[in-house]
């Protein structure tokens, strides 16, 4: 497509000074044709696999469909069902717990570790690789590793606990401990990106304020909380939103692989519930309504954070 239009460009722009005005108009047309040809493949893909699924997901929320028989319009039935479905409320609670248990430690630990490695000491670039490494483990790789670590009888975690006299739980099949076990694993996977973003934020904080603070006699710990932390506030906001989204949607693969939502649904987040409704029950309409509901919730979280920022700005 692109190659057929290009010789025309050579011809028209080959002698620009003779027929300047018409060449200008022609080259404008050539620009438009070339630009159209350049963006078309990407746009086709984008419309077919981004726009249509997004709008289709919205539309399917109002239908009942099992993938094979023709879809039936059911109006708001799926939305009404959403609010009266105890499994949905349970999954929503699990999702909220994943976010609350996961995001706060990830952000605080990420910040502290970033401050720790934000130095120019020799050899630091090699050591930093270890901090970034968990990022490249896929959900499946991480699950294989952590399933071995969490093994109730032979896993390293319980061996270590028994060494100090604690009888460790059967982590992944224990209704109390399965969720924290998955959260710890997800925090491990999420820390590298948080550290990277904080390192970027820290590098924008000027060194002068620390020099001034040292002269004033502020200790390291005091400097950290009263100077560094407020100065990386924009990064903290960004990281919090990204991690909230990450724990809502990212918990899905991990719990699908490691516990399949169990034991007794204690690790079944909304995303996993929607997945099961879609692919086990083949109830596409209701699954779409569940996905839509999550999107609305995420949008609400983002708006809430922006509102908090505005309030904070108004008071400072």
């Amino acid at each position: 497509m692109t190659t057929s239009t290009t010789p025309a460009v050579d011809v028209t722009t080959g002698r620009p000074e003779k027929t300047a005005p018409s060449a200008g108009r022609r080259s404008k047309r050539v620009d438009a044709i070339t630009a159209t040809a350049f963006v078309t493949p990407a746009l086709i893909g984008f419309i077919l696999f981004v726009i249509i699924p997004a709008l289709g997901g919205l539309a399917l929320s109002f239908f009942q469909w099992d993938l094979f028989s023709p879809p039936q319009f059911v109006g708001l039935d799926n939305i009404v069902r959403l609010f009266t479905d105890p499994d949905m409320w349970h999954a929503l609670g699990v999702t909220a717990l994943f976010v609350i248990m996961g995001v706060i430690p990830t952000v605080v630990l990420g910040f502290l570790l970033a401050v720790l490695v934000n130095t120019k000491l020799p050899g630091i670039s090699v050591l930093r690789v270890f901090y970034f490494a968990p990022m490249i483990a896929s959900a499946a790789v991480a699950s294989v590793i952590w399933a071995a670590l969490y093994d109730p009888r032979f896993g390293l975690v319980n061996q270590a606990l028994s060494w100090v006299g604690i009888n460790g739980p059967a982590w992944l099949s224990d209704t109390t401990w399965a969720r924290p076990a998955l959260v710890i694993m997800m925090i491990w996977g999420a820390l590298p990106i948080v550290i990277i973003l904080y390192l970027g934020g820290l590098q924008r904080v000027s060194d002068d304020i620390y020099a001034a603070a040292s002269l004033d006699g502020a200790g390291a710990w005091r400097q950290l909380w009263s100077m560094t932390w407020p100065n990386v506030w924009p990064t903290t906001l960004l990281v919090t939103v990204l991690q909230a989204v990450g724990f809502v949607s990212g918990s899905f693969e991990v719990s699908l692989i490691m516990t399949n939502g169990g034991p007794l649904g204690t690790t079944q987040s909304l995303a996993l519930y929607a997945y099961k409704v879609a692919f086990s029950d083949r109830d596409i309409g209701y699954a779409s309504a569940l996905s839509l509901f999550q999107l609305v919730l995420l949008g609400a979280i983002v708006l809430l954070v922006r509102l908090l920022v505005r309030i904070r700005k108004a008071y400072s």
Binding site: T2, D10, T34, A35, A37, V39, A42, L43, G45, F46, L48, F49, V50, I51, P53, A54, G56, L113, L116, V117, L121, L127, V129, F130, Y131, F132, A133, I136, A137, S138, A139, A140, V141, S143, I145, W146, A147, A148, L149, F154, Q159, A160, W163, I196, L197, V239, V248, S249, F252, E253, L256, I257, Y275, F279, A287, S288, S291, Q294, L295, L298
Partner: protein
């Protein structure tokens, strides 16, 4: 004296942090070479007494070379296809005067904030309707079409290229395609390194998409084959063999990560900094 002390304390802190974060991966590597009994002894040995290379042979037989080949086709297919469609689009949006630029940019950016897992079901349905289940087309094309990140990354880079260079080439009669190929691309090596490393790692590590679109053995990718080893349902397979499989699954991304580290980290840092 005080700074020497505090630097030493800091080093100790950094090394402990590095060790704790890397511990699960170190456990994976050392566990993959231990025998089925040795992996469970406590306190754990850092290194296996005698490396059991048989674990890797067993893991390879379980995963199969075909699955690993599928993973390469899948990941390289996504990277390649995204390059082919994103580079011209990004170039047009950056350098060719075009009245739709603003509209296209806006429509690309907005859906970027929707997590992929929420559009998984409708995306699966589109792929299903196209008759692409259990095919490489179904695996690769819908994922390659998620190219907003690639277009924005390359566009940002192309915008920064000096306009005079491109104008001069245009006046000399070079077509836009030629300008893209011979002038813009050779200058874009950093952006290409960033994109290729991020895109390859993301694609290689995908689990849920290949799992729902192409679960049949002929198209299975490595993460789909590996995941059942984590659920405990394959009790016949020893954890050391599972860990050896995890090592095999991680080797390609580890190589890409180490070689492209600088660019990769720039890329993942950039995804959050709009």
């Amino acid at each position: 004296m005080r700074t020497v002390l505090s630097n030493t304390a800091r080093y100790v802190g950094i090394v402990i942090g590095a060790f704790v974060l890397a511990l699960p991966l170190l456990f994976m590597v050392s566990g993959s070479l231990k025998s089925a009994t040795e992996i469970n002894t406590f306190p754990p040995k850092l290194l296996p007494t005698t490396p059991v290379w048989q674990n890797f042979a067993d893991a390879w037989n379980y995963l199969t070379g075909g699955v690993i080949a599928n993973s390469f086709v899948f990941a390289i297919g996504i990277v390649g296809l995204q390059l082919i469609i994103s580079l011209p689009a990004a170039f047009a949006l950056a350098k060719i005067p075009f009245k739709w630029t603003g509209v296209i940019m806006a429509s690309l950016v907005i859906p970027m904030f929707i997590p992929g897992n929420l559009t998984l079901i409708p995306l699966f349905i589109v792929t299903f309707q196209l008759g692409w289940l259990n095919s490489f087309a179904g695996l690769i094309i819908p994922m390659a079409a998620q190219c907003a990140f690639a277009i924005l990354l390359f566009r940002q880079f192309f915008v920064s290229l000096p306009g005079g260079l491109i104008e001069a080439a245009r006046i000399d009669g070079a077509s836009w395609l030629r300008v893209l190929w011979s002038i813009a691309l050779p200058l874009s090596r950093p952006a290409l390194a960033t994109f290729c490393s991020v895109s390859f790692l993301t694609a290689w590590n995908m689990y849920i998409w290949p799992q729902i679109v192409a679960p049949d053995p002929a198209h299975r990718v490595i993460n789909v084959a590996l995941a059942p080893l984590a659920g405990g349902e394959n009790s016949l397979i020893s954890p050391s063999v599972g860990l050896a499989g995890a090592v095999i699954a991680m080797v390609p991304v580890l190589i890409v990560f180490i070689v492209f580290q600088k660019w990769y980290i720039k890329g993942v840092a950039g995804t959050g900094l709009e």
